[in-house]
């Protein structure tokens, strides 16, 4: 039982990171219908930027997180304006390929600037393990839980009450109608990319603090695909839940079935779920007319 709880809790801790990345995927998909295959790479880039910030300015954890998120939001905006906006009107597939191209570029750029060796992201956060029942957690993993709660409440309030949030929901619902109602859809797209990059920044900093920053971090982006697919590509909150579920399933299958199962458990799970629910658990089915 202790073993089970231990796997469960550490799985949830990993799952929170998948959740943050998955929410970033969902944020962009909801508004623009594009899956950003460079999400993992953006996370990696931002986490290296955090590494530089931590190394030069000696920020504490929270100021550094805030600064990193701000920089990441700017990066998201730049990417949207430079690369994604010109692709408006092209097939979705082409835009997706642009994000794949961006991913290839970012992977190389990171190694060019920072080198290929893994480095610890030092923020003065204690690395002493906190024991919760049978499981041990790093403080950063507890912060991840708190951050996730804060982000979820914040996003909920944003989508529910703020003018811009409602405009984003309207755009996700029906672009043409949103345009006719005077919503600046282009600005909504840019905002989605910015918010998504901000979420990637949180994930990047957390991974950097819990593990280290290394040029293979982008694979976490790939591993987060099952999270967002499980929740439904257009459901931001579903992605958060999906992330936690995938993290737990990965850890349990690794613990009980065998070594290496971690790598594929999420993908096997989504294959099964998609056979039953082709739009994920919380996704909205497309109703198509010919």
């Amino acid at each position: 039982m202790d073993y089970f709880l231990q796997l469960l809790i550490s799985g949830m801790a990993v799952g929170l990171i998948y959740g943050f990345i998955g929410m970033g995927f969902a944020m962009i998909y909801r508004a623009t219908g594009v899956v950003n295959f460079a999400q993992g790479e953006m996370m990696m880039l931002v986490s290296y930027i955090a590494f530089t910030l931590a190394g030069t300015l000696h920020f504490g954890f929270w100021p550094m997180l805030a600064a990193t998120v701000a920089i990441s939001v700017l990066i998201g905006l730049v990417v949207e304006v430079l690369l994604i906006r010109p692709m408006l009107g092209q097939p979705v597939f082409s835009t997706v390929m642009v994000t794949i191209g961006l991913a290839v570029i970012l992977r190389s750029v990171v190694v060019l600037i920072w080198g290929a060796d893994p480095m610890p992201l030092n923020t003065g956060l204690s690395t002493e393990v906190i024991r919760i029942g049978p499981a041990g957690l790093y403080p950063a993993q507890l912060y991840a839980l708190g951050l996730m709660a804060a982000v979820l409440v914040g996003l909920w309030a944003f989508f529910r009450y703020s003018r811009v949030g409602i405009a984003m929901r309207a755009t996700a619902n029906l672009q043409t109608a949103a345009l006719l109602m005077g919503i600046n859809v282009k600005r909504i797209f840019a905002l989605s990319w910015a918010l998504s990059a901000g979420l990637a920044a949180i994930a990047g900093v957390l991974i950097g603090v819990i593990y280290d920053v290394n040029p293979g971090m982008w694979t976490t982006g790939l591993r987060s695909f099952p999270a967002v697919i499980l929740g439904g590509l257009d459901s931001v909150f579903g992605a958060a839940l999906g992330g936690v579920l995938i993290g737990v399933v990965e850890n349990l299958s690794e613990g009980y079935i065998g070594r290496g199962m971690k790598e594929i458990a999420g993908f096997v799970l989504i294959l099964v779920v998609l056979m039953v629910r082709p739009y994920g658990l919380f996704g909205k089915p497309d109703i198509e007319r010919v």
Binding site: P86, I100, R107, L112, P226, E263
Partner: protein, 348 residues
Amino acid sequence: MRSGNFKQNYRELLALTDSVAVVFWSCVLVAFLLAAPLVLPTYYVSVLLLLLITAVGVLGLNLLTGTTGLISLGHSGFLAVGAYTAGIVAGKLGWSMLPAILVGGLSAAIAGVIVGIPSLRLKGLYLAITTMAFAVIINHLILNGGTLTGGSEGLTVPQPSLFGRPLGAERGYYYVVLAFLVVFTFITLNILRSRIGRAFLAIREHDIAAKAMGVNLIRYKLLAFMISAFYTGIAGGLLAFYTRYLNVDSFSLLISIEALSMLIVGGLGTVAGALLGTAFIVLLNEGLGFVFGMIGASLGGAGSTAAYEIKGVIYGLAIVLFLRFEPDGLVGRWRDIKHYWTNWPFRF
């Protein structure tokens, strides 16, 4: 008065090509490829050989993604299935080359049908990510296949031989691969002008509309997956006998992405585009590798990693810029140039 391009009967409409120039230049291309090993140095022949093998696989991906409109990120999986099956039946069971490659293709086709079943309910990016899941699972199975697949140690494949006679990599085997490519190009062209090809196109334009017109979606989507996976499996088998050593690392997701970028650079949905795109990306890769290899060598160890990464940046930029400025690919650009010259002084 005869003007422009018009057809008077169905046979003309269904002909492979109505242009003498196309036939002539295709023959010139094949003649060049036949003569290449005799005149080019071995290194260039082996690049060309890799290009031809890649082209077979990209033709397959084109049938699925370009013609039928089903996006697949799982073709690295089919390639791995084909390569490993061919490698295992040749290495462990002692089959000769041709049956081994064919069995590789068939097993990939079976895998294609299995992957195709979820595709009946999934669309667009959901499908893309599901096929990606398949590729990840295949790699995991290969890695944990024990002595059958060699796991992380890899698998050695015997030297290719035809009718009991061993083939040299650059001379004999090159012609085998070329024959495969020519045959598969013809098969593709013939599929595209048949009932099956038209069904594929209808599904790409709108699958529900196609269904309403009487296209059996289950049958044709699975068929598209099967044919496409078969091509890629054959390419895998050819690759196995080319590299003669298989390792799971060489079948990463990047292969699928690279193949898609070849399609896009060439022009989605056309055979000429698939071939052109393959040639462009493979030669770009080789060219960049050559140039930056020289720069890197002159800079020493650290310089060579930097050169490798700069090569990555340029490769990514090439994809992005092509999509941005040439969404129809090289084939689209060629068409525009042709129209410009035939219709001059009019714009269109």
